[in-house]
Symmetry: C2
Subunit: 323 residues, 2 copies
């Protein structure tokens, strides 16, 4: 009895990546257990070729981006990854064998690195562009998920890593900024670095957090809006990489791109002042750079950014949106 094509692809490329709950990818479904005293955080992000990545990107990078943008959400929520399912729509013209082998290899590397096994999924053909949709699961002790809605006036605002690299990397990729010496920016766009090492520190010390996927200013505004708060950040405090700094110095418009462009996948966290030392200490122990960039305020006003002179900056747009 010949195997159907999908079963064959699954057996060759994906079954070797499955965790025990994936049941060898031979069933209609997977099993996911939750330890007593824990609950599951569930997140879902879909990426479309030509929208969220370039169709010609290396297949292993596409796989890793699709998984990592979801791992980043789990990190921001203080959750420990427990697995994911993958829906993959393959264009008819794709050379499936070679492409899937590289895609699966990239996925396998991250599955091991982030201890997040494949549980199942669906592979379909599409007359359209490649699309990768991941639903990822993480465990948190019951009631301990770090919400987006928990910011309180007086909380300190922290961000991990550096801001704007990926948005500038995309502009380099598009030819709108020079490519010379921009390898770090390009790499940040191609392969996000989710901050999962910070999950338990956030859970212990942050009042609210989210990952910065659509730009620092716009995502800060979202978190403040759902928390019923406002905020102020100081431009001089916002951490910027050396390469981004050089680009911004040479191209004045690049500052706005760095602050409002997407794909950073850093974490923006609100930390009560009494927890600040413990938060910073925990981050240092985890090897994760965190920088205090401002504070949460009362009110419903849009968050403000003060430049070095103390003036409030204005932006043409605050956030990346495909709509």
């Amino acid at each position: 009895m010949p195997h159907s094509g999908e079963d064959d692809l699954i057996a060759r490329f994906f079954a070797p990546l499955a965790g025990p709950g994936g049941l060898g990818l031979k069933d209609d479904a997977a099993l996911l257990s939750v330890e007593p005293g824990f609950e599951l955080v569930v997140t879902c992000d879909a990426l479309v070729a030509g929208v969220h990545f370039f169709a010609e990107d290396p297949p292993d990078a596409i796989a890793q981006k699709a998984l990592r943008v979801n791992l980043s959400d789990l990190a921001a929520k203080g959750a420990c990854p427990t697995g994911f399912v993958l829906a993959l729509a393959l264009p008819r013209a794709l050379k499936v064998d070679g492409w899937l082998a590289a895609f699966a290899e990239g996925l396998g590397t991250d599955i091991a690195a982030y201890k997040c096994p494949l549980l199942g999924g669906d592979t379909v053909m599409t007359p359209g562009p490649l699309m990768v949709s991941v639903t990822a699961f993480g465990a948190v002790p019951v009631g301990r998920m770090v919400a987006r809605t928990g910011a309180c006036p007086g909380d300190l605002l922290y961000v991990t890593g550096t801001v704007g690299d990926a948005a500038l990397g995309l502009q380099v990729r598009l030819g709108a900024l020079p490519g010379e010496g921009a390898d770090h920016l390009l790499a940040r766009y191609l392969r996000p670095q989710p901050r999962n090492v910070l999950a338990s520190v956030l859970r212990d010390h942050a009042s609210a957090a989210m990952d910065v996927s659509d730009g620092l200013i716009g995502d800060l505004a979202k978190m403040m809006r759902v928390s019923g708060t406002s905020a102020e950040i100081e431009l001089a405090c916002v951490p910027v990489s050396a390469q981004a700094s050089a680009v911004i110095a040479a191209h004045p418009g690049a500052l706005e791109t760095a602050l409002t462009g997407g794909d950073d996948y850093e974490i923006l966290a609100c930390v009560p002042p009494r927890n600040a030392a413990a938060f910073e200490g925990g981050a240092a122990l985890a090897g994760m750079a965190v920088t205090r960039i401002g504070h949460v305020m009362k009110g419903q006003a849009a968050p403000r950014v003060r430049d070095a002179s103390g003036a409030i900056m204005a932006f043409g747009r605050v956030s990346y949106s495909h709509f």
Copy 2:
């Protein structure tokens, strides 16, 4: 601060459908609790316009098909639905407002009917066709999921409802079969009827089960293969609706379509003889027609179908595959 387009769509169309674990769809993630003594069954099915449904299908039917094909997997595994996440890729040309309102209405009807709340998801734009990917969750007592791999020689084979309606409905839709009097077949293709009422009966009495999404013969072959068994079914026992029966009588090729075509979403179950009476009784109490169509056998041979004369039937293909 203007909301981003995606946030606006979510707030208008999807937030009203969210269960408590969806956190108002204001966060990066959802929360999913599992009662002590239970574990989660996770399933994922993605549908692409032009491949799994027609782009011009009513939006409420598209929503319901996308959810129901996943509910069908949960039913086959003996799991009780607890929620789902939705990844939706919208073509740029779609008239988003009216389309999404109808899509959300269809989804809302099923969320209520199947008690399966929306937990979260992702909405993206695509230059390609509409795509809907659902990951659904169901609860089962620990260790009680009905596997696809559990068939034993001697088990009786049962199928719910009637076989082949949807595959014939698709042929009617494509103009390959006459449309007169085919409303039942068309409806079966457009809106699958997942057999969730049978979940606990399967859990209590079946040794293996799967839903029939790619054709009875091919899906039976899959279940036998992963169980390390063979099977024989009797054509005369296979339940067929009156409309399907009339089409098969008039168009000899339609029999193969009915037995090997996809989209039935009936459940194929293996039941040890000692459980047969209880299984049939439980199904009757649940109001679900089940029909004994054959039995599981030793060996690795492909399952056989005997016609009314006792001859073994041959099929050009055994299963629907997009690959």
